[in-house]
């Protein structure tokens, strides 16, 4: 009896296992096939421009000139501004939450922050147009700026959007530092602040860097909100990377280019279409590299705190 009852259960387990294997591989195959298709479709532009596609400063599709550098610059610049603004605030909030708030308040704060992450990005974009654009225009007037649609505006908007990502990942990183270590430090006479700096921040450091990298990946990939406030001005590559002026000019990011109507125009013309897909591939590579670096660091941090 017992044996007879066991057998169907075992079979059911096998069926579930087989089905999950099947669907997992299906998803994997579908994504891989899609990526290969993207690569294949982008071949014309690589044939036409070669590495010039990455290093070229000009994009004039009617003249069959495809240089992605200004957009790579735009994407990185916007993401870096976002990180520079968001990281200190978000990490600071996470430290405040884990080190100085009691359990229930911390959870409350975390829920509120995570709700912010659930707001559709187009809403952020609209808020950016409504609030940020004029503010940037007014406050940067002395720099002779032409409009409020600038790389800086997009960066500030992105900072607000990635704040929850950094904060919640930083919170996880800080939480993974064992409580016993904080207690040991306190029992040696360190103050709460000294403990936060020398135990929590130190122990969580790789995890905090991971949080920033993952958030930067998100910032690079964000499309619609950036699209609405970045100005979408092609071929804006400054002479010097270390001047502030280019930041308060309109620019173009990889995502804002791909989100625009040029993508629809390009479809049907193999070279132009290939160039657009090439931008997509560059974006993918950048985001994937950041994500892998972030996840790797997270694993490292976890192992460090376990042993």
């Amino acid at each position: 009896m017992g044996k007879a009852a066991k057998l169907p259960k075992h079979n059911r387990f096998c069926a579930i296992k087989a089905a999950s294997w099947f669907f997992t591989s299906l998803a994997f195959v579908a994504v891989t096939a899609g990526l290969i298709l993207l690569l294949v479709e982008s071949i014309p532009v690589w044939r036409h421009s070669g590495l010039e596609f990455i290093t070229g400063r000009n994009w004039f599709y009617r003249a069959r000139e495809f240089g992605a550098l200004p957009m790579i610059y735009g994407s990185l610049q916007v993401a870096v501004i976002a990180i520079l603004i968001a990281a200190p605030i978000a990490v600071g909030a996470a430290i405040f939450g884990t080190e100085f708030l009691s359990g229930r308040l911390r959870i409350g704060l975390k829920i509120v922050i995570e709700l912010l992450a659930g707001i559709p990005s187009v809403i952020y974009g609209l808020l950016g147009i409504l609030l940020l654009r004029n503010w940037v225009y007014d406050s940067m007037e002395s720099l002779d700026i032409l409009s409020g649609d600038t790389l800086l505006t997009a960066g500030i908007l992105l900072a607000v959007m990635i704040l929850p990502t950094i904060m919640t990942l930083a919170d996880d990183a800080l939480q993974s530092v064992p409580r016993a270590q904080r207690m040991a430090a306190r029992s040696l006479g360190l103050t709460a602040t000294e403990t936060a700096i020398n135990i929590s921040l130190r122990g969580a450091f790789p995890g905090l860097i991971a949080a920033v990298l993952l958030a930067m990946g998100r910032a690079l990939g964000e499309t619609i909100a950036v699209f609405l406030v970045v100005g979408r001005q092609d071929n804006q590559l400054p002479e010097s990377l270390f001047s502030f002026q280019p930041l308060v000019e309109s620019g173009q990011t990889l995502t804002s280019k791909l989100g625009g109507s040029e993508t629809n125009i390009a479809y049907g013309e193999p070279l132009h279409w290939g160039a657009m897909l090439g931008l997509g591939i560059l974006l993918m590579i950048m985001v994937t590299a950041l994500t892998f670096a972030g996840l790797g660091l997270q694993n490292l941090a976890r192992r460090k705190n376990e042993t």
């Binding site: 016993a180 207690m183 430090a185 306190r186 029992s187 040696l188 006479g189 000294e194 020398n198």
Partner: protein, 254 residues
């Protein structure tokens, strides 16, 4: 004249409505090793952590009553709690080694709480490690991570870390319960050495250990699920009394 180093007066601990420790009034003399014995879950560790106000860091615990350190109340507005914890240091059940080098572990407390010049740190570390009987084993690898040490060595490293800040009292919360017999032996003989300079308050539920190192003990048992101070004195004294509730059971089950 009150010669006790620590004295509690109606000190009780509760978590919300649940009482964890019934009021304890106890005098702890400054010389020798004071043991706190009793069954697990009776609140021995909690009691220990009230003595340097470390239990305040556990959310949800209410502490009532008073602790006097050489006559000075500790639960009082204006007491510098961080300075108190430096004088009344604590060793935990599981050794808590920070993820850094052996050397950095030893001077951790000194570095962050005192203004001793950096050039004096090596001497200070050596002194503390010698006191903790660890110097000979680690003197050639001070820059190696503290976590590479065996668990018994880690506990002595924690002890060295506390000793480096020259505490007046060391609270030890079952410091050998995670250790092998050899390491336990090492810690016990260390306690013998250290009690000449420091007051030691030791929580243990190992009677053999209590017999070996404690001069006086307090027995905290459970009454209706709440930790209660049931007796204190020398162990022989406690054994000769036969009216201590739960003590017989505790002895035979050990």
């Amino acid at each position: 004249m009150d010669k006790s180093v620590l004295r509690t007066e109606n000190l009780s601990v509760s978590a919300g409505k649940k009482s964890i420790l019934n009021p304890v009034s106890l005098k702890i003399p400054g010389d020798g090793v004071f043991g706190i014995i009793g069954p697990s879950g009776a609140g021995k560790s909690t009691f220990l952590k009230t003595l340097n106000r470390l239990c305040e860091l556990t959310p949800g615990l209410q502490i009532n009553g008073q602790v006097f350190h050489r006559g000075v109340p500790l639960y009082h507005h204006g007491v510098d709690v961080d300075a108190l914890r430096k004088r009344v240091s604590m060793i935990f059940q599981q050794p808590v080694v920070f993820p850094t080098s052996i050397f950095a572990n030893v001077i951790f407390g000194v570095r962050h709480t005192e203004t001793i010049p950096k050039k004096d740190w090596p001497d200070l570390a050596e002194r503390a490690l010698r006191q903790a009987a660890l110097w000979e084993e680690v003197k050639d690898r001070l820059k190696k991570p503290g976590k590479e040490l065996s668990i018994g060595q880690q506990q002595r490293l924690c002890l060295a870390r506390s000793l480096a800040t020259d505490p007046e009292i060391i609270l030890m919360d079952e410091p050998t319960s995670a250790l092998d017999p050899g390491s336990t032996e090492a810690i016990e003989s260390l306690i013998h050495q250290l009690k000449k300079q420091q007051s030691i308050i030791l929580v243990t539920h190992n009677m053999r250990q209590a017999d070996k190192v404690c001069d006086l003990v307090a027995f905290i048992g459970l009454q209706d699920g709440t930790g209660t101070l049931l007796a204190s004195g020398s162990l022989d004294e406690l054994r000769s009394r036969n009216n201590i509730p739960g003590f017989e059971d505790y002895l035979c089950c050990e």
